[in-house]
């Protein structure tokens, strides 16, 4: 399903914020494609630039920072598109759900109004049809007694239900691409499983592309086709999810995989990546991961390894990638 023409092509995306005269390179040279019905997982620790990448795609960060590079939506560059034109794509073709279901709904409007608002902006349905569609959407995302809940306010919904409402709003106009920014981080595992199942089945049904930002490798393993690992604003490794998780090549990905306690003897010492991620103000000159890396060489400290293709659809940014044998041991 992924061998068709990609619907979204991101190339050399850079987002820089400025704070007190200091440039903060939040996202650097990020490139990836998303095809129809494809689920791309963007993984990384906090501050690695995953959320900013998503926001930059939709033009949400240009007010706060400098965005360069190209974001092609169906062949059309939307990175520099004026706000007014972009509004026709945002919400209709590309929808986004945010991390916090508690704060991303307007507490003063009923759920029904918030749902029909999107429909009013992006479809030419009349009032009654919009209401029907809203009920249909709530039903679709698994909210019981949808018709009666339309008149309720967000505070009357639980966290998992609010996230469902967010998904219903995002999907109301039948988008072709869904950007999901940590959609389940604030939820319990049992609810997380329900929400992820829901997103996946909808992606499948509507052959919608999804970019899923998360820090949970388990979520990536269970939901995505492709994975891209970010560190300090750059993609350090990307490829098919099985290859990335089974045979990681970048030392950072290996470190991430091995710090998760799975298939290790109980109460044994966990593998750790020494140190902490660098701050954006003081990124190392060479590879950003070099100071924490065990296989670093002098060239890693001096120059930055480019993201290079090592196999079909698989690339890694490292001078000394972990070999298959080492990766398998991890």
């Amino acid at each position: 399903m992924s061998d068709t023409q990609p619907i979204l092509e991101v190339e050399n995306l850079c987002t820089t914020f400025t704070r007190g005269g200091v440039a903060l390179p939040a996202v650097r040279d990020v490139s990836f494609n998303v095809g129809k019905g494809e689920v791309l997982g963007l993984v990384g620790e906090s501050g690695s630039g995953k959320s900013v990448t998503l926001r930059s795609i939709l033009g949400l960060s240009r007010r706060y920072g400098d965005v360069t590079g190209s974001v092609k939506w169906m062949g059309q560059d939307i990175a520099q598109m004026p706000e007014r034109k972009l509004r026709h794509i945002r919400g209709r073709d590309i929808a986004m759900i945010f991390q916090e279901p508690m704060t991303s709904l307007n507490p003063l409007l009923t759920v029904g109004m918030q749902l029909t608002e999107t429909l009013k902006a992006h479809t030419d349905l009349n009032r009654a049809a919009r209401r029907d569609r809203a009920i249909e959407m709530l039903d679709h995302v698994g909210i019981p007694a949808a018709a009666s809940r339309l008149e309720e306010y967000p505070h009357q919904f639980s966290g998992g239900m609010r996230q469902r409402v967010m998904i219903a709003i995002a999907l109301a106009a039948n988008p072709k691409l869904l950007l999901a920014d940590e959609p389940t981080t604030a939820l319990d595992v049992t609810i997380q499983a329900q929400i992820l199942d829901l997103i996946l089945s909808l992606a499948d049904e509507l052959s919608m592309g999804v970019i899923l930002v998360t820090h949970d490798l388990g979520v990536v393993a269970q939901t995505c086709n492709k994975a891209a690992v970010m560190y300090a604003g750059r993609i350090v490794e990307q490829g098919d999810v099985r290859q990335v998780l089974r045979a990681p090549r970048h030392p950072y990905t290996v470190g991430l995989m091995r710090s998760v306690p799975q298939n290790v003897p109980p109460r044994s010492q966990l593998y750790t990546v020494p140190g902490t991620p660098p701050s954006l103000e003081a990124l190392p000159q060479g590879c950003a991961f070099a100071p924490r890396c065990q296989s670093r060489t002098d060239s890693c400290m001096a120059t930055r390894p480019p993201l290079e293709s090592i196999a079909q659809g698989r690339s890694v940014a490292c001078f000394n990638p972990v070999t298959d044998a080492q990766g398998a041991a991890a």
Partner: protein, 332 residues
């Protein structure tokens, strides 16, 4: 022979919800949140007891009861054979020293206006752990223990990362040489790679200092890794407690089964025979009668709706609170 250090018996705790004007006008009775509905648990010396459950199930409330931040309305907690809520025990500060709590949020649990050195020496002087003159050297020792650089003593909390702050919190708890540590979501706010560092430190310190740890967390993989025994809580009740490996590889209670199967595996091909729970945790304002889990349970019968199942030992397993545990575990 395992020695029980903490014996928690049938504790119950309710929080009244303030009545709104509408409630007064309509003469509705005041409502209560039933946070704990009869929790019994033993903590053995030197073990790590993991406590898991969904948010709102009472894990943190239980932790707070143990350190006397809340006083349960019913039931008792005995520490070393002594009732910690007895009148004479309340004045006893040594309990506060011997049982220490570490909190979830590394950003709000340290006083932003005190340096690390001040935070640690305060703990030392409040409990008269060391004579005044020896405090600086003890602070240095503690920083060393949690692998923080010595110059950390002069720094304020905002100069540290989340992982380093949790180390300070651990150092503060260890300053008073406690016997029991209560870790309430200690590493939940940290990134995976940093999480592993703090967990390793905790395990190492436990062996070194022979600590007993109550590890409250919602990350099941992590709990499985650090715990000797695990208790699963649902709506203020323990539904299953037992040896960590047995419980994780072979859960007996339908809720434990569903909870464990919901944790996403790292293997893309291991989709698991996922048991999907229907619905969400009922509000603790309105706990269902009978077994609190019956509204979401696949194996529900009339008996479950009528009678609360008690915790009972199951051969080869731990203790389970389910009327049908035998049949369910046979099928599993």
């Amino acid at each position: 022979m395992t020695q029980t250090v903490m014996d928690i018996k049938d504790i119950e705790l309710e929080f009244p919800v303030s009545r709104s004007l509408v409630d007064f006008v309509k003469k509705r009775p005041g409502r209560v949140v039933r946070a704990l509905n009869g929790v019994s648990l033993q903590l053995h010396k030197g073990e790590t007891l993991g406590v898991v459950g969904e948010s709102g199930c009472g894990k943190s409330t239980l932790a707070r009861c143990i350190v006397r931040l809340y006083e349960p309305q019913n039931g008792s907690i005995h520490f070393d054979g002594q009732d910690i809520f007895a009148a004479d025990a309340k004045a006893d500060r040594s309990y506060n020293r011997r049982v220490q709590m570490m909190f979830q949020d590394p950003y709000s649990s340290l006083n932003p206006r005190m340096t690390t050195g001040q935070i640690l020496s305060e703990a030392l002087s409040v409990h008269n752990m060391r004579p005044e003159a020896e405090i600086p050297s003890r602070v240095a020792e503690l920083l060393d223990l949690v692998r923080l650089p010595q110059d950390a003593a002069g720094k304020l909390p905002h100069e540290f990362s989340g992982g380093q702050r949790q180390r300070i919190a651990i150092a503060r708890a260890l300053a008073v040489e406690p016997e029991v540590l209560i870790a309430d979501e200690l590493v939940s706010a940290l990134d995976v790679s940093v999480q592993a560092q703090v967990v390793n430190l905790l395990l190492e310190l436990q062996d070194q200092l022979n600590l007993t740890i109550l590890f409250v967390a919602h990350d099941l993989r992590l709990v499985r890794h650090v715990s000797n025994r695990v208790a699963v809580i649902y709506l203020g009740r323990i539904v299953e407690v037992g040896d960590s490996e047995t419980l994780f590889s072979n859960p007996s209670h339908p809720y434990s089964q569903a909870l464990l199967s919901a944790a996403p595996s790292l293997d893309p091909d291991d989709k698991g025979d996922a048991i999907r729970l229907q619905g969400e945790l009922p509000s603790p304002l309105n706990v269902p009668p009978g077994c609190p889990f019956h509204v979401r349970c696949r194996h529900v019968t009339e008996l479950c709706k009528a009678k609360v199942p008690g915790l009972r030992a199951l051969s080869g397993r731990g203790e389970v609170a389910c009327h049908h545990a035998e049949e369910i575990s046979k099928h599993a």
